[in-house]
């Protein structure tokens, strides 16, 4: 378990290097989410996105990237909303240990 001061006031990791799968579970549980295989697939995808583009995605690019990498079934807003309710790009990035997306409401 990471101490509270490892996170900013919005719950995003301050140091991206602190991230581990256990940290992801910790963040998710603080958000009331239990991570399933579906979640982990998107978390991995988000971390790949960050490595590729040096940024956290807004919703639109996240959906397109999912479609590109995981197929059109999963490249849909509704699928991502079902896993990460509310704002999937923001919540998913938070759990995946990415910086807060710039272009998210």
């Amino acid at each position: 378990m990471l101490p509270p001061d490892a996170f900013d006031r919005d719950g995003f990791l301050r140091r991206l290097d602190d991230w581990t799968p256990d940290v992801a579970r910790q963040i998710a549980s603080a958000e009331g989410l239990a991570l399933t295989e579906g979640h982990w697939e998107i978390i991995e995808l988000l971390r790949n996105y960050y490595r590729e583009f040096d940024s956290s995605p807004a919703m639109r690019p996240l959906v397109k990237y999912c479609a590109l990498k995981l197929g059109s079934d999963k490249g849909r807003s509704i699928y991502l909303m079902s896993l990460f309710p509310g704002s999937p790009a923001k919540l998913g990035s938070k759990i995946a240990g990415l910086p807060k997306p710039d272009n998210c409401l």
């Binding site: 590729e52 583009f53 040096d54 995605p57 807004a58 639109r60 397109k64 272009n103």
Partner: protein, 123 residues
């Protein structure tokens, strides 16, 4: 707003990627506008073409990598990306290796491009 009424915005990007924060600000603005369904085009002009250098290693100066950020433009549906052909020649840039696909325009075509947009935002 209906698509036919949408104002077309051209971002004219004239600064090198790491010499100031302007380059980063211009791309952030482009992504934010696209995330909100605005019709945005990008023109890399003059020194702005230096943002299209391949193999940028921004971590060497502790910056975020602008080249890799540019590679995400198509995911934001920003596909109207133009570049100043004269500056590309002057810096002997290889557009084929650029992080994002950009169409090279000569001086006259750039003037036409500017005339075909409702708003010009210089960076």
């Amino acid at each position: 707003m209906a698509a036919s009424e949408a104002k077309r915005v051209l971002l004219v990007i004239r600064h090198s990627p790491y010499g100031s924060s302007l380059a980063r600000a211009s791309i952030d603005l482009a992504l934010a506008a696209a995330a909100f369904d605005q019709d945005v085009s990008l023109l890399f002009l003059g020194d702005g073409v230096l943002q299209l250098c391949p193999d940028q290693q921004a971590d060497a100066v502790g910056s975020r990598n602008l080249g890799r950020l540019l590679a995400s433009l198509p995911l934001y549906d920003i596909t109207q990306v133009y570049v100043d052909a004269d500056a590309v020649t002057r810096y002997r840039l290889d557009l084929a290796a650029a992080p994002v696909t950009a169409q090279a325009l000569d001086r006259q075509a750039i003037s036409q491009l500017m005339g075909s947009h409702d708003h010009l935002v210089g960076f």
